[in-house]
C-alpha cells in the first residue's frame, strides 16, 4: 500500500473534499480558514507523494511543498488578521451576518 501512488493520491483527494465541504458549509469565518488549511495540506500531500514516486521530481517536490507551506503561513496570518478586523466592526465571526452590501 505504501508502495502505490494511488493510496496517497486518494487520501489527498479525500482530505481535499473534506476541506471543500467545510469551506462551503461552515458559518464561522475561522472555520472556513481552517478548511482552507486542510485543502492546502491535501495538495501538499499530493505533491510530496509525486515527489516520492517520480524520480525526476524527487528533490523539487519537497522544495515546492516547502514553498506552499510558507505561502500558507502568510495566507493564515493575513486571513486571520482580516477576520479579527471585521470582527471588531461587526461583532460577529459568522460570515452570513456580513451582509452590509445587501441592505
Amino acid at each position: 500500500m505504501t508502495n502505490s501512488l494511488d493510496a496517497y493520491l486518494v487520501l489527498s483527494g479525500l482530505l481535499f473534499a473534506i476541506g471543500s465541504f467545510g469551506f462551503l458549509a461552515r458559518r464561522n469565518a475561522i472555520s472556513m480558514l481552517m478548511s482552507i488549511e486542510l485543502m492546502l495540506n491535501a495538495v501538499n500531500l499530493a505533491i510530496v507523494a509525486f515527489g516520492s514516486f517520480v524520480d525526476r521530481l524527487r528533490p523539487n517536490a519537497s522544495v515546492i511543498a516547502l514553498m506552499v507551506i510558507a505561502v500558507a503561513a502568510a495566507e493564515a496570518t493575513v486571513g486571520l488578521a482580516i477576520v479579527i478586523a471585521i470582527y471588531r466592526n461587526r461583532r460577529t465571526p459568522l460570515v452570513d451576518e456580513y451582509d452590509s452590501l445587501r441592505q
Binding site: N3, V10, L15, L24, I30, N44, S62, A74, V83, P93
Partner: protein, 178 residues
C-alpha cells in the same frame, strides 16, 4: 534488535499498518474539524490532523517537509488560529447553528469531488512512474539553495509583507476604545 519487515501471521508490512493508522487518524480528525460544534475543539482536531499528516510525510520519504509541517503548522498556524478563535468567540456563537443553509448541497458536492478524484486516480496508469525512492533531505537542500534560491528569497519577502500586513490589519485604531 530489528523487527522483521513483515508482521507475522497476518502478512502485512509495518509501513502499511502505520500508513493506515495515520491515514485513519488524519481523515477522522479532519472530519471532526469540519463538523464539531465547539470551534476551539475544531482547532485542536486540526492540530491532530496536521500531526498525522507529518507522519505520512515521513512514510512518503520527505522528513524535511514533515519537520517543517510540525514547526509551521502545529507550532505556528494552529496557535495563530487558536488565538484568533479566542479573540472572536462570543458566548452565543457555539450554541447557534454551525452550518449554513447550503450544507447539504455542499456535502453532496464534496462527496462527488472525492469520487471524481478517486476515479481519475484509479483510471490513470501510474505504473510507468512508480519507481519508489527513499529519503532525500540532502538533495532537497542542494536544489533549494541553488536552483530555487530566488523563489526562496521571494517567499521570505512575502512572509515579511504578510507579517507587516497582519500587524497593520489587527492593530487597534487610534481612539477606538471598545
Amino acid at each position: 534488535m530489528t523487527l522483521p519487515e513483515v508482521i507475522p501471521f497476518i502478512n502485512v508490512r509495518w509501513d502499511d499498518i502505520l500508513f493506515l493508522i495515520l491515514a485513519a487518524i488524519m481523515i477522522g480528525s479532519a472530519l471532526l474539524v469540519v463538523t464539531l460544534r465547539d470551534i476551539i475543539r475544531c482547532g485542536l482536531a486540526m492540530m491532530v490532523c496536521f500531526g498525522a499528516l507529518a507522519g505520512i510525510y515521513v512514510i512518503a520519504g520527505a522528513p524535511l517537509v514533515a519537520a517543517t509541517q510540525v514547526l509551521v503548522y502545529i507550532g505556528a498556524i494552529s496557535v495563530l488560529v487558536l488565538f484568533a478563535i479566542m479573540l472572536t468567540q462570543t458566548k452565543a456563537a457555539p450554541a447557534r447553528l454551525v452550518f449554513q443553509t447550503q450544507a447539504v448541497p455542499a456535502a453532496i458536492a464534496a462527496v462527488l469531488l472525492a469520487g471524481i478524484i478517486a476515479v481519475s486516480v484509479a483510471a490513470t496508469d501510474w505504473h510507468a512512474l512508480s519507481q519508489r525512492v527513499e529519503s532525500a533531505t540532502g538533495a532537497v537542500a542542494q536544489v533549494l539553495f541553488q536552483q530555487y534560491v530566488l523563489p526562496f528569497e521571494i517567499v521570505s519577502v512575502l512572509l515579511l509583507a504578510a507579517v507587516i500586513g497582519g500587524v497593520f490589519l489587527a492593530k487597534r485604531e487610534q481612539g477606538d476604545v471598545s
